[in-house]
Amino acid sequence: MSGHTQTHYTREQAVEYIMDQYGETLKRTIFTYVKNHHTTDDIFQDVLLQIYRKWDRFNGDSQLKTWAMRIAINRCKDYLRSPIHRIKIATDKWREQKAPNYTEQRVVQKEQWDEIAEAILHLPIKYREVMILTFQQDMTQKQIAEATGTPLSTIKTRMQRARQLLREKADEGGIDPWIINE
C-alpha cells in the first residue's frame, strides 16, 4: 500500500491496512502510556475510529505509521488527563497484568535489561515516550517530534534527561551503569 492517501484507498481499506500492518505496534505503544491491558483495548478502538473518521484529512505529508501513531499518542494523553483516569490509576498494579507467559527464568544479563525496561516504563511520561518511541518503535528523533507534536530540540533534551534519570536509577543500585553509558 504505497501512496497511502484517501485518493487511492477508501477509509475502510485504510483502517484494515493499519490494523494489519501497525495494529500490534500501536497497541504496544498505547500500553506503555496507560499500563493497563483493558484500557489499551478501549483506547485502541477509539484510535481506529478516529483514523476511520479522519482519513479524509490524511494528505500523505507524513508516513502513515507516524500519522496513526500521533493519533494514538494524543488519545493516550487525553486519557491520562481525564478524571476517570485519575480515579482508577493503578500504576503500581500494572505488572500484575502482564501476559501470563511472562517468563520468570532469566539469566543475570537478561535481568539487567529487564530492570532497564522497567525503569523506562516508570519514567515520567515525557521522558518515557521518547525512550519508548526510540527503542521500542525504532523511530528517529525527527519522527518522534512529528508524532508527538514537539519541537525536535525538546526531543533531544528529553532524551538526554531520560538517560540521566536512568543513570541515577543505576546509581541507586539494581542496574549496571555501563549498560546505560554504552
Binding site: R28, Q45, S82, P83, R86, Y102, K110
Partner: protein
Amino acid sequence: MDHQRIKEAINRQIGEDPLFTDKDKQRFYKKKPNRRLRFPAVPKLVTVLLAFIVLSGSYYTFLKTDWFEQSSSPTEEESEPMEETPPPPSPDPEEPTLVKVEKLKEVITSMPSKSKMKVVIDQFSGTEVESKLADTENANGNEYKLFESYYAFASTNESGNQSAYEGPSPPPKEAFENGEIEISMKLNWVEGGERVLLNEATILYLSEEGDLIEENYKVHERNRNFIKVKNPDDLVVMDDLILRSIARSVDKEPDAITKRDLLYLEELTINASHLSGIYEVDEDIEYFKAMQSLFVLKLNQAIIPGELLKEVPYLDQATFIGPTVDDLSRVKEGLQTITYLNLINSSFRGTAEDILELKSLNIVRVDPAVVPNYEELQFEGMDVRW
C-alpha cells in the same frame, strides 16, 4: 544502550503474547459507524424499526445488567486481572481488631469491584449503615456520580452475638469504647460511563492503647498507601497564624482545627507579608507528619525549614514569595518530592545547580536574569518559565 536488547526487554515487560488479535478487528467492525446508506432505496421506516429494536434490546440489557460487574470491553473477562479481588481472607470473630483491619485494607488496595467488596463485607459480618449520593461531576461528556457508603462491623458480645450499630456515621470514639462497633468503614464509589470504581476508603477503629485510629486510602495519582492519624478529633495547638492559614484552606474556624483536618489538608498558604520580618514556622514535627495529603504549599514571607517539610510525604508544588530563599539550602531537604517550583517573586539568587538538586522537579518559574546559567535547566529537560 543496546537497542535490540532494550526493545526485547520492553516487549517482555508489556507481554510476549500478541496484543493485537482478531477480537480487536471484530470489535472495530461492530462499532464502525455507517457513513451512508448503501441502499438508498430501503425505506426509512425499516431503519426506524431497526433502531427501535436495537434500542429496546439495549434498554432490556440495561435493566438486566448487574452494573457492578459491567465490562466496558468484550475482552475484559479474559484480560482484566486488575479488578479481581484476591481470595477473600477468612474472618475469625475472635481475631484482634488490627488483624481484621489489615485484611480489609488488603482487599481495598486490590481495587475490588463493588460486588466483590460486598462479598467481603458480608464475610466479615458487616452491615451497610448508610449510603448516599454525595456529588456529581460532568467531564468529557460523561457524568460521574460519587456515592458514599458507611459500613459497620460490630463487636461480638460474650454470648457470641453481634448487635447492629445504629448510631451516627462516622461513629464517635465513645461508640467504639462502649463496644457498639468494632470497625467503621466508609467507601466512596465513583460511577462513570459503564464503570463503578472505588475512589476512597476510610477505616476507623480503636487501637490496643485505646486511641481512635483513622486510616484513609485514595485511588489517585499520588500513588500513596493508607494514610493514618491517631485521635483524629483532637484539637491542634499551633501558632495562630498557621491555624488561621489552615482554617482558610479547610473552611473552618481556627480554634476548631483537628488532627483529621491536617490529614486531609491539600493546600496551605501562609501569608506573613503583613509582618515586619520573616515568619519562621517552628511547630511540633508530629503535625507535619500528619499532613499526609498536603500537595500545594505557598509561603509568602514565611519559611518552613527543610527538616519539617521533609515529613510531608506527597508535597508536589511549592511557591516562595519574598525574601526567604536566597538559595534553596534551608528548604531543599523538604522539597525532594515537588514537581513544580515557583520562585518568580522570591529573593532567589542561586544557580541552576541549586535547582537541579530537587530531584523530582519538572517545572520551575524563575527569572532568567537571576539564574545566568538557566539554559542548563532546559538542557536537563526542565520546563523553565518566567
